[in-house]
């Protein structure tokens, strides 16, 4: 069972985070200040850390840069009330792996935490081929097969599919898709991402096979092999 360290000074938010992670099968410990959080993160081997940007004792940015300085590579999900792009860049530059703006819905947090955990499990393995059910993606040759049939994908569609397949079985929100596939960090409005997903869906699920991409209402999308 993966373990998470929640460094968060607001008790209500902290309780929400802990409950949500718990619901997703992640055991979470809560620490309310930066200095103690840093000590715990250094001492215990956590699988993921959620870190508030503004903390008493020690700033979130300082915590994460100190961790990285000491070669601790636990994925860090930074959480902040500061939504400015510059703040995000600062957080990621200091060593954060993802950045979430308050207020957030807990499922968004859980989705992001799972993506980070997944990436950590994958780390070290040099994947050249992704496979979900009968869908295959060759990252080197840059081609995709569904049920042995080649698919013609545009570069954007390829990147979108790669992101979905890397996180197969996980819910990814539209905001996460926009950030990871396009690399931008503002609110794109929901319908554009839906249109892109719709096209990809027509290409990979349109040939009579069992659909792989599923819409999770009120949250996002998930790609998973049909049971």
């Amino acid at each position: 069972m993966p373990r998470a360290l929640v460094i968060e000074d607001d008790e209500v938010t902290a309780r929400d985070i802990v409950a949500e992670l718990d619901a997703h099968g992640v055991t979470a410990d809560w620490v309310a200040n930066g200095r103690e959080g840093l000590a715990r993160a250094l001492a215990d081997g956590y699988d993921i850390i959620t870190l508030d940007r503004m903390l008493p004792g020690m700033d979130g940015i300082d915590v994460v840069s100190e961790l990285r300085k000491r070669a601790v590579d636990t994925p860090v999900l930074m959480i902040s009330a500061l939504s400015d792009v510059d703040e995000r860049v600062r957080g990621l530059r200091a060593g954060g792996d993802d950045y979430l703006t308050k207020p957030f819905s807990p499922d968004e947090l859980a989705a992001r935490a799972e993506v980070l955990l997944r990436r950590r499990q994958r780390a070290g393995r040099d994947e050249v081929r992704l496979r979900v059910g009968d869908l295959e993606l060759d990252l080197v040759r840059h081609n995709a097969l569904r049920h042995g049939q080649p698919l013609t994908l545009l570069p954007t569609e390829f990147r979108l599919l790669e992101f979905l397949m890397r996180n197969a079985g996980q819910v990814v929100t539209r905001q996460m898709i926009f950030e990871h596939v396009w690399g931008f960090h503002f609110d794109p409005g929901t319908n554009v991402i839906d249109v892109h997903i719709g096209r990809l869906r027509r290409k990979i699920d349109g040939t009579g096979q069992a659909p792989l991409i599923r819409t999770v209402r009120g949250s996002g999308y998930t790609l998973a092999a049909a049971d």
Partner: protein, 461 residues
Amino acid sequence: MRPLTDAWRSATSRLIIIYGALFAIWCVVLLGVVQWEASRYLSSVVDQMLAARIRYLERTEPARLRDTVDAAGAIDSQGYMWAGLFDAQGHRLAGSIAHMPRELTEDGVARPLNAGVADLTRVGDAQAHHGTARTRAVARTLPNGDRLVVAKESTAIDGIGVIIRRGVLWGLTLTLIPGLLGGILIARGPARRVRAIQQAMAPIREGNLSVRLPVGRASDEVDLLAATVNATLDEIERLLGEVKGVTDNIAHDLRTPLTRMRTRLYRLQQQFEGRPEAAQLDDCVAEIDTVLARFRALLRVSELEDRQRSACFERMDLGLVLRDVYDFYAPVAEDRRQVFELDIGPLPSLRGDRQLMFEALANLVGNAIKFTPDGGAIRLAALTASTGDARIDVADTGPGIPPDEREAVFRRFYRSDDTRSKPGCGLGLAIVSAIVRLHGYSLSVGGNERGAVFSVTCPAA
């Protein structure tokens, strides 16, 4: 020569000109009166001399009169006084005057002779026939019918006039020229200050309410005015800040409870999955998402507006940004059977924030697609204008924006009547406008009823 015309136009300059003109008129009137008085006095002196002389000649015995008249003329030939004796028919009997002056009446009253008298003392002189300079003369009829004329040159009186006129001229020149020059110098001070105020106002007009007018130490009218304007600006800024603060605070504070509410509804919706309640809960979640998106957009506008122009703008490949925007929106346009055209010409090097420019252009293109009917056309183009600046155009074949709404569309929450039926919150263009301003670029809207064209002009770095 704008500064000069400005100086002429200034209030001080006008005052100086009016004052100068009044001064000149007063000078002329004053010296005119002096001249008139002086010449009247000098005329009366001449007239008394003439009267004395004619009385003396009248009292002379008739037998000796001719000799006396001749002698009088001779004696006074250097003093420019003439005497003449004529018979009733006007023939000369004696004296230095060639013929009886026609303007003269024999009543013993001195009169000016503009043509002078025909002087016999200067024989050979052209004046003997044409008369002397201006004179005053007096004539009387003697008891025997002969007529006696005495004349004296009056150029001295005119000379006084000339001296006084010259005095006026010099006086005016010496007073008015330094006066006007000094006036222009004095006027330039306030003009410069007014220009400084104008310059200070420019950013305020563009919406930067943090700028204040320069206030000098003189505490004069200009300073008082500037201080009053500054106080007004303080108040406007405070009020605007309050309004913005209130909206921002509402948006900010409501986000947390709304997010929590959304989470609960979302959990409920998942529990009811497959039952009719689920669809209703789904609608609730969607509504809250809309509100949250609006709050996010509102706070985003504020955040962008509060941001200082970033010193860490990097070299930006605008063509790449456009291509990204195109790729992002092409499927959306295609779904609506719209022709989406991308046209990138050679572009100058630019400095900016790629993320923000993508956001701005995405908003413009998103709007263009939204307001263009199915089957219409959208064009995204960037080229180098003749000025060397880059120009980005986002053109559509939607209903266009009426000219009287073109300023307003960039305001927060502004939605034209035609667009209220479309989804959206009227904040997209406010975001675009804030990003463009942050970059020091400029944004304009044109087009006609067959479509709108949004243009962003980016000065080359």
